[in-house]
Subunit: 207 residues, 2 copies
C-alpha cells in the first residue's frame, strides 16, 4: 500500500523504518530494492537519500534501535527489584512480553545478521552480549547465594533466551492463552529448571 | 566456487540441493536467482530444469527432506526406550545433536517458511506438528504417571523445542563445550524444569 508523506523530517524517516521493517520481513534484506522501499513509503527513490545513505544503513538502524530499546526497557523493568529469584522472574516476563510485541524486529535481528557489514555486525553482537550479561549476572548472583543450580551460566542463559524468544514463532494474540499467561508459564519453567524447590518460599506455586 | 558436474542423474540433483542450501542460507530465497544457482552447481541454467521445475520446488524439497529426516531419525532414536524420563532425555539429546549438525537447514526451515506456497506451507506445518506431537506425547505420559509437573503440554513443548534449537545459533564445534556436553546440560535444564526432584531415582544427578 502506497501512502503519501512529505519527503522531509522525522515523519518520513519513521515511515521509511516502518516500510523497511515490513519489506525485509516479507522478502529478505537482499531481495528488497530501494525502489520497492520508496514505493512503500510513497516517495521518489531519490528522496530516500535525504534520510538514509544506503540500504545497509537502514538495516543497521532497524536492528540497533531494537537492541537499544531492549536494553533500555530491561533497565527500567529491573529497577528496584531485589534478589535473583525475583529478578529472574521479572527478566523472563519482560523478555516474553517485549518479544511478542516486536516479532518482526526479532525475526530480522536473527535472520539478517548475515547481511550486516562486519563493523555493524560486531556492534550488534556487542549489544547482544550486553543483554546476555544482564541475564548471566542474575544467574551468577543466584548461584553464589546457593539459590540456583546452574551447570554453566552462559549455556543456561542461551537456553533461557532461546526458549523465551521462541514464543514469537507461535504466539497468537487471539489464541487460547494471554501474553501474561504465557509469560508466567515460561517463567515457571525457567525457575523450576534452576531452583531446587526447598529454596523457594513456602507460598511459592513452584514449590 | 563453480564445480563441473554432469547435468543428469541423482548426483546433479544432490549438487543442486547443496548449492541451493548454501545460497538461500547466504542470500535468502527471494534474492537467489536460478542463474546464481546454476553457476554454483556448474551447469547451464537450462540444465536445472532437468531436475527441478521451479525455485519453489527446490525450497520445498530442502525443507521437506529436513523434516522427513528429523522424524525418521527420531523414531530410530526413541525405539526401545521406555519411560517418560528416559524418553525425554533421549529426545533432548537427539534434538540438540541433530540441529547442531544441520544448522543451515534449521535456519532456512525457520526463516523461509514465509516463502513457501500455501500448500507447501501447510504440508511443512503438518510435519512440524507431527514432530511436536512426539514431544507432547512424552510430556503427557510423564504427567499422567505423576512424574512431570507440566502447566500446559503444548506451551512446554514449544518452550523446550525453542531452547534446544537455539543451540544452533551459538554452538561452535571447536568451542569449550562438546556437542555431548551441551546436549547433557540442556537435557538437565529441561528435566529439572519438569520433574519434581523427589520423583527421580536417588542415583539421578538431577536430584
Amino acid at each position: 500500500m502506497v501512502r503519501t508523506v512529505g519527503s522531509h523530517g522525522p515523519k518520513t524517516m519513521e515511515a521509511i523504518r516502518k516500510a523497511g521493517l515490513k519489506l525485509i520481513h516479507e522478502h529478505g534484506y537482499e531481495a528488497m530494492t530501494l525502489r520497492q522501499l520508496a514505493a512503500e513509503v510513497g516517495v521518489q527513490v531519490g528522496s530516500l537519500y535525504n534520510h538514509i545513505s544506503t540500504k545497509q544503513d537502514l538495516l543497521f538502524d532497524l536492528i540497533k534501535a531494537h537492541m537499544d530499546d531492549l536494553l533500555a526497557e530491561l533497565e527500567v523493568r529491573l529497577a528496584g527489584i531485589d534478589g535473583p529469584v525475583e529478578r529472574l522472574k521479572a527478566f523472563c516476563a519482560f523478555h516474553v512480553a517485549y518479544h511478542i510485541l516486536r516479532k518482526r524486529e526479532v525475526f530480522i535481528g536473527y535472520s539478517e545478521l548475515r547481511s550486516l557489514d562486519p563493523n555493524h555486525y560486531e556492534e550488534i553482537v556487542g549489544l547482544r552480549r550486553q543483554y546476555e550479561r544482564r541475564l548471566t549476572a542474575i544467574l551468577e548472583e543466584g548461584r553464589q547465594q546457593g539459590l540456583f543450580q546452574v551447570g554453566d551460566n552462559a549455556v543456561a542463559a542461551y537456553g533461557i533466551l532461546a526458549m523465551l524468544t521462541g514464543v514469537c514463532t507461535w504466539f497468537r494474540p487471539n489464541g487460547r492463552l494471554t501474553r501474561e499467561q504465557v509469560a508466567e508459564i515460561y517463567s515457571d519453567m525457567v525457575l523450576r529448571g534452576l531452583v531446587p524447590p526447598d529454596q523457594l518460599p513456602a507460598s511459592s506455586p513452584l514449590r
